[in-house]
Point group: C2
């Protein structure tokens, strides 16, 4: 089924203890669509500047990504420069230049409106809502946000959350968004804000999925399920991270996670609890691959066989019942 | 099979956002043996002062723990006072009084020498080694250590590690012990120091088990397995934490984890890879229960049925294959 990603297509300069990559193709929609491409082709809506060449576009097209929704604007593309310490959890942003992104207003090509599955990468929540308005028929909407929007546009983030089926955030953002200190309570609070499900990414510790059980997912019953403070009324699933010994470059791991997750859902054309669980595992698979080389390098060169094998590794290292 | 725990039997004063518990029974060997008691009775070797009453002893005896190895000494028992912030990961030690523990020298009752399974709680590594010397025939030795010993007695900790089959540590200690910033590399480095296996406790993020595959566990092959930097030569298993919404008091969670783990191994009288995996899950079960009330309260009152049900919950929230 049709999968649409809206987000940034950007250039990143990345320094890690392993080296330096200068102005390489990045951005949330880029990582997302490359990761998703191993499951289902996706369409990208974003904006780039004159520095986005045919060669850059080919990277996406070669993986079956539709780039017709990428708008060209005069000037330069969004640019981010950052540095990771030897502990890859510690990242310093050295430079952020919005450039053409500053006036970005997502416009969906008319024939993109049959997209059943939508991912809203981490952009201004006002724009995220505008995209939702243009896709009233979508079947399943997932989105991401970040600390910057949570603190600068809290009302708009709340409005955005009310449009989502699934929020995908990292642990720090989940706590910031809800004011909780416990991730499980934070998940419950997020579900009270609108989405039927939330995935909390825990970096090197894995990811958790909290969702309203399908059987109570009608609006009225859902409200009961989340206000009753009964723990087992939320369906819980958790998966540890792949045990990477060398986190070469974590840039884009979160968007690659989202791409694997949504790509699998679009491929299966299903949002059952069992599909969501496996989608979280495929998200973890793609997030782990993203960390193995600079930028998008690893995501360009994978084989379906490698993806499948890593999924099987997850099944093997998490099982304990005979 | 016979399970022996050596460690502290102590009193704790604990302040959390939920209240204050004054001079309640605690200590690593106490938590360990109570948690283990749901699987196999254990014997405790430790030292207490005159403040350890018959009533305190009864708490252990009621759960089938053999207290004959607990030495009485003039003076007061080990005492710890601490405070947790609303984020229970942040703990402040307000007072530590070694008291009778200062001159503790573990002496095993003669009839304890048939203990097949041994757990060495977090005490001076010199004493931990002395216990190993007294139990040359033990089948499986697990142990714990902490930041204090790692920095003050690094040589003795290394000697201790060389005696272990399994080290159980938390994530911060694993990094400190090895100087690594990556937990997977830290686990490999620990196995190079001696143990065939290491469990890294990640608090609210779960626990991981790294071990030398049985098929290469002869001494010569083991050395090859750990020096070759091939990731899949170590068997890896990970389990997420139980999604507690209210961490009432995390004191003793780590020792309760060790108790569930070793209790299950002693009950099964097996150290196969499959047994070790399930033991890590039972450790996680007991660690989660320990956090639900002050001190040892929850560990005293559980039923075998509650333990079994929580284990089944772990199986349910970690499975994703149909």
């Amino acid at each position: 089924m049709k999968l649409l990603a809206v987000g940034s297509v950007a250039f990143d300069s990345i320094r890690t203890p392993r080296g330096y990559a200068e102005r390489v193709l990045g951005g949330s929609a880029t990582y997302f669509s490359l990761a998703a491409s191993y499951f289902a082709p996706s369409r990208v809506v974003g904006v780039v500047g004159e520095d986005f060449s045919a060669e850059h576009e080919r990277i996406l097209c070669d993986r079956g990504v539709c780039t017709r929704g990428i708008e060209r604007a005069p000037g330069k593309s969004f640019f981010w420069e950052g540095e990771y310490e030897s502990n890859p959890n510690i990242r310093h942003t050295l430079k952020t230049e919005l450039n053409v992104f500053e006036t970005f207003s997502p416009k969906l090509p008319h024939d993109y409106r049959d997209s059943s599955y939508l991912f809203l990468g981490n952009i201004d929540p006002v724009l995220q809502c505008q995209v939702c308005d243009q896709l009233p028929e979508s079947r399943f909407v997932a989105g991401d946000t970040m600390n910057y929007w949570i603190s600068s546009k809290p009302e708009q983030v709340r409005e955005f959350l009310s449009r989502l089926d699934l929020l995908i955030v990292n642990d720090g953002e989940a706590l910031q968004l809800t004011g909780e200190t416990n991730l499980n309570l934070a998940a419950r609070a997020i579900i009270q804000m609108g989405p039927n499900a939330v995935v909390i990414k825990r970096g090197e510790h894995g990811a958790s999925l909290y969702s309203i059980p399908l059987k109570v997912a009608s609006a009225a019953e859902a409200a009961t399920a989340v206000t009753e403070s009964v723990q087992d009324r939320l369906d819980y699933f958790a998966v540890p991270a792949y045990p990477l010994e060398d986190v070469f470059d974590p840039t884009g791991a979160g968007d690659s996670f989202a791409g694997g997750l949504m790509g699998y859902i679009a491929q299966q054309d299903a949002v059952s609890p069992a599909t969501l669980r496996r989608a979280v595992v495929y998200g973890s698979v793609m997030g782990s691959f993203a960390c193995e080389r600079f930028g998008i390098e690893r995501l360009r060169e994978l084989s379906n066989e490698e993806v499948r094998r890593r999924y099987e590794e997850f099944a093997a290292f998490t099982s304990f019942e005979e």
